[in-house]
Amino acid sequence: MYKIAVLGDRDSIYGFASLGLEVRPVRDLSEAAAELRRLAEQDYAVIYVTEAVFEGIPSEIERYESQQLPAVIPIPGVSGNTGIGMRNVKKTVEQAVGSDIIFNSENERSR
């Protein structure tokens, strides 16, 4: 039986508590890194992290990239969407295909 956790600054994530997800508010990045490690060692299959945290501790995130579990998924925080989540998806496309063929057209439009 696995659980789901949400990691980030308190204001961004407290709402998820009402859904029964486990909320782990952190104040700074080093705390977030330690908490992420703690969560990954336990039975958490999905860990949602706010974009700020996701961007702040890339080396910690990287470690779980190649493992099947946990899935570390960035979600936008209360301060708004920075687009890192999409950029991350784009990065995997580049890794797999060699060049970005999914998001290309969209970028040209926005330019």
Binding site: Y2, A17, S18, L19, G20, S66, I73, V89, A96, I102
Partner: protein, 225 residues
């Protein structure tokens, strides 16, 4: 390239030929694997993109609702209202094998079966905005889980595709040409050796005939006489 390292012997030639056959087969199989992985990956990544758009939009909307709710009532009351969640989500994780990549499949169970039973507070002292906020997040839950599943699968598959592509390229551009060149080198060398032996034998035969019959001396005698 590596021609200097090979022994030009028949045994080596047989060995290399066998190796080439294996390499060709491996190359074909890996190429097929790469193509199929790519096909499935592209479908998945498109799904990933649309799900992410949906989830990010949903969270933005929910956050706006939460901000509204907090504006309408004191902080402590919001905290108290959300302090003891009614709902609890647990995940059942199983594996799906996509072309030898193990991707996770999530199935979730909620503690209370009623999807409307998500409000962990009495309605008397909280604002309606909080209800909206909680509801908007709860509606997003299935999509968020699906996003987690799809995005993780995408990352795992991307890594596998990259690995497979490298292997295919290594076989196609290095291993197979090298083997072919070595095989050619050995064949040429063996042929050359054979010709050389042939010529040597002919020469020896000439010399032996000369010794036995003294053609040259007789010819000279006949010319002189």
């Amino acid at each position: 390239m590596a021609a200097t390292h090979v022994n030009p012997t028949r045994m080596e030639l047989t060995r290399l030929k066998k190796k080439l056959v294996t390499a060709m087969r491996g190359h074909k199989l890996l190429k097929d694997k790469r193509d199929e992985l790519m096909r499935q990956y592209l479908d998945l990544v498109r799904l990933n993109r649309s799900l992410r758009e949906k989830v990010e939009e949903g969270i933005r909307f929910a956050n706006r609702n939460f901000v509204l709710a907090r504006a309408g009532m004191p902080d402590e009351e919001v905290n108290v209202a959300l302090m003891a969640p009614k709902q609890e989500v647990t995940l059942q994780v199983s594996d799906r094998n996509v072309m030898s990549v193990e991707v996770p499949v999530f199935e979730y169970q909620t503690r209370t079966s009623d999807p409307n039973d998500i409000y962990s507070y009495g309605f008397a002292f909280t604002s309606g905005d909080l209800d909206d906020a909680v509801k908007s997040l709860a509606d997003l839950m299935p999509d968020m889980l699906r996003l987690a599943e799809v995005e993780k699968s995408c990352r795992l598959m991307a890594a596998e595709i990259e690995k497979t592509r490298r292997r295919v390229n290594a076989l196609e551009h290095i291993m197979i040409p090298d083997l072919q060149e070595n095989i050619k080198y050995i064949t040429m060398k063996l042929d050359e050796n054979e010709r050389s032996t042939q010529i040597r034998l002919m020469k020896v035969k000439d010399m032996m005939l000369e010794q036995a019959h003294h053609y040259k001396e007789r010819a000279e005698e006949a010319f002189a006489g």
